[in-house]
Symmetry: C2
Subunit: 197 residues, 2 copies
DNA sequence: TGTACATCAGTGAACGCGCGTTCACTGATGTAC
DNA sequence: TGTACATCAGTGAACGCGCGTTCACTGATGTAC
């Protein structure tokens, strides 16, 4: 009786099913947690049959790996924005913690055990390495020679990653999360600055 | 024909089924990961029917919470041992990382998302708090007044927890794990020592 | 010291559930002529 | 510009699986008398 008659409610062919499935997986991740995410639930949310995903992804892990890689790229972008500020280590670290707090489901997928065969997905490894490289660059300092060992970057990564994990996993009351992270990051000296003792 | 005839292979009553189930859950955790751990598989390993566990635990989460609490107590004990050494922050931190590397499945249960309703288990919260308190005490330093805010302890916790997580989740090659952790912990000054700049 | 009986600790069948994946299929699209 | 046909992107039924949990039960244990 109205124009809905001419509008197919469920077009047989989607415009971009892979993206829609990734987006659905992310919303599941944020709402229901890593245990619930999967092919059937994602397809259901998109409004597509349970097996449609197999036209675009080899299997469940393949979809999740692609979601995780997307997450690492977004994390790197958020950190990149902080890298040009006055106190870059502070800004970049806070960007990391904020990312975890805001996209906790995605963060858990990126770093957790849901993905078993991480090594099988080069795109994923590359995106994760980019995050570490950025941290390493900021932690060592732009003015200095890049050093052989990467303990400065690892210390920075460890700190921000640990704070993020403790916050989102509920070990620390979430109300304090951001303020505490900020305070700690401002007071954290670069390893080079440490006193001789 | 031999003495086996007189030895009941499957005694009807166990000596200590709760402990046996906890132990089984831990071995599953370490061998197969958090997704596999559960009442059925634990019962199977102990050699008991799938429902026997319900005589001792309210449900699956109840068993896992009790395993996690056990883990926190062991972690605190391992750290306690390091607290009396020359450089206590270093020793305690390394004990934390070593615990994670050696009992990774347990560590994941203690800190991860497997336990959804952590707040429901006071024993678990108490055991986890003890770990943080110890870290806070060591990070602030025995000679100083305990301070109002706990950012020094949180910084220490964040660092060791983040390093542990990155190692066991495979973001950093495991071969480097312990050496890197050691180097970072030795070079990490207490926040109080930081220069004015 | 022996016995009746309450209680405790296990059994095994059954339930409903949701999952990943396979299969043969059909509807939609694009391209060669 | 039209049409035949290959290819692509979906469908829906079905599979086997393992899980947590319930239920009515039985075997083992301990205690009051």
């Amino acid at each position: 009786m109205n124009d809905l008659t001419n509008t197919p409610r469920r077009p047989y062919h989607r415009r971009n099913l892979p993206d829609a499935l990734r987006a659905a997986a992310r919303s599941i991740l944020d709402e229901a947690g890593p245990d619930v995410v999967g092919l059937r639930e994602a397809s259901r949310r998109v409004g597509v049959s349970a097996t449609a995903a197999y036209r675009h992804f080899a299997n469940k892990e393949d979809l999740l790996a692609s979601v995780a890689a997307e997450g690492f790229r977004e994390l790197a972008a958020a950190m990149e924005a902080g890298a040009t500020e006055n106190d870059p280590l502070h800004a970049v670290g806070l960007a990391y913690v904020d990312f975890a707090l805001q996209k906790r489901g995605l963060f858990r997928l990126m770093f957790g055990t849901i993905l078993v065969e991480r090594a099988k997905y080069p795109e994923l490894n590359a995106a994760a390495s980019a995050v570490f490289d950025l941290l390493q660059r900021v932690a060592v300092g732009a003015d200095e020679q890049p050093r052989e060992d990467n303990s400065a970057g690892m210390a920075a990564w460890g700190l921000v990653h640990g704070l993020s994990s403790l916050f989102i996993d509920g070990l620390v009351p979430e109300a304090h999360a951001r303020g505490l992270a900020k305070e700690i990051l401002v007071h954290t000296p670069r390893p080079e600055y440490q006193p001789a003792a």
